[in-house]
């Protein structure tokens, strides 16, 4: 399906954004004492966000995205956003506990990947239901 190919392409771009973030992080790392994982993460996220936005605009321009597809995307995004918010919120709460040490960067990456997976699964679920 045409739109499915584009979605896969969007996911590829997201992966490229993640790789970009990792490369950026690796590139800057030698110059800093503390690994600037945040810079890499934010850079990757911004890149992925811009790419995803650009593709969503192209979807709409072509017209293959009809109201049902948008509704499916809306519902899937709600689940994905909820997952990400709950995860980040939980992580923030855990970080408030001074005696607990967690690999923050790793968990943030895991949350990011999880939210993408949740989004894709939700799209499949609602596509079958609607």
């Amino acid at each position: 399906m045409w739109s499915r190919e584009k979605r896969l392409l969007s996911l590829g771009l997201l992966a490229a954004g993640v790789v970009f973030g990792v490369v950026l992080e690796t590139g800057i790392d030698p110059f800093e004492e503390q690994g600037p994982a945040w810079v890499g993460l934010v850079g990757g996220l911004v890149f992925a966000g811009v790419a995803a936005h650009w593709f969503s605009r192209r979807y709409e321009a072509v017209g293959d995205v009809d109201e049902r597809f948008q509704e499916i995307e809306r519902r899937a995004s709600r689940w994905s956003r909820g997952t990400l918010t709950a995860g980040v919120g939980t992580l923030a709460l855990v970080l408030l506990l001074p005696w607990v040490e967690v690999p923050v960067a790793l968990l943030l990456w895991a949350l990011l990947v999880t939210s993408v997976v949740v989004h894709e699964l939700s799209v499949e679920y609602y596509s079958r239901r609607m």
């Binding site: 739109s3 009809d66 109201e67 049902r68």
Partner: protein, 66 residues
């Protein structure tokens, strides 16, 4: 909400794909409406009625809250 889209389509001998192209939606959307899995927007409902040259109520039937 129930609808008789399939009947109208059969009456006019229009394929799902043709109707989808005419309304600028995907064939899956037309199929989902026919199966009652998706309730179209008011705009799309008007477009459907316009396409078949009938009233919205002729295609869609609101079952009501109570």
């Amino acid at each position: 909400m129930e609808n008789s889209l399939k009947v109208w389509r059969a009456k006019r001998d229009v394929a799902q794909g043709e109707l989808a192209d005419a309304l600028d939606v995907s064939r899956q959307t037309v199929n989902a409406i026919e199966r009652g899995r998706y309730d179209p927007s008011l705009e799309l409902a008007f477009e459907l009625a316009d396409y078949f040259d009938c009233a919205i109520e002729d295609i869609f039937e609101y079952e009501g809250g109570d």
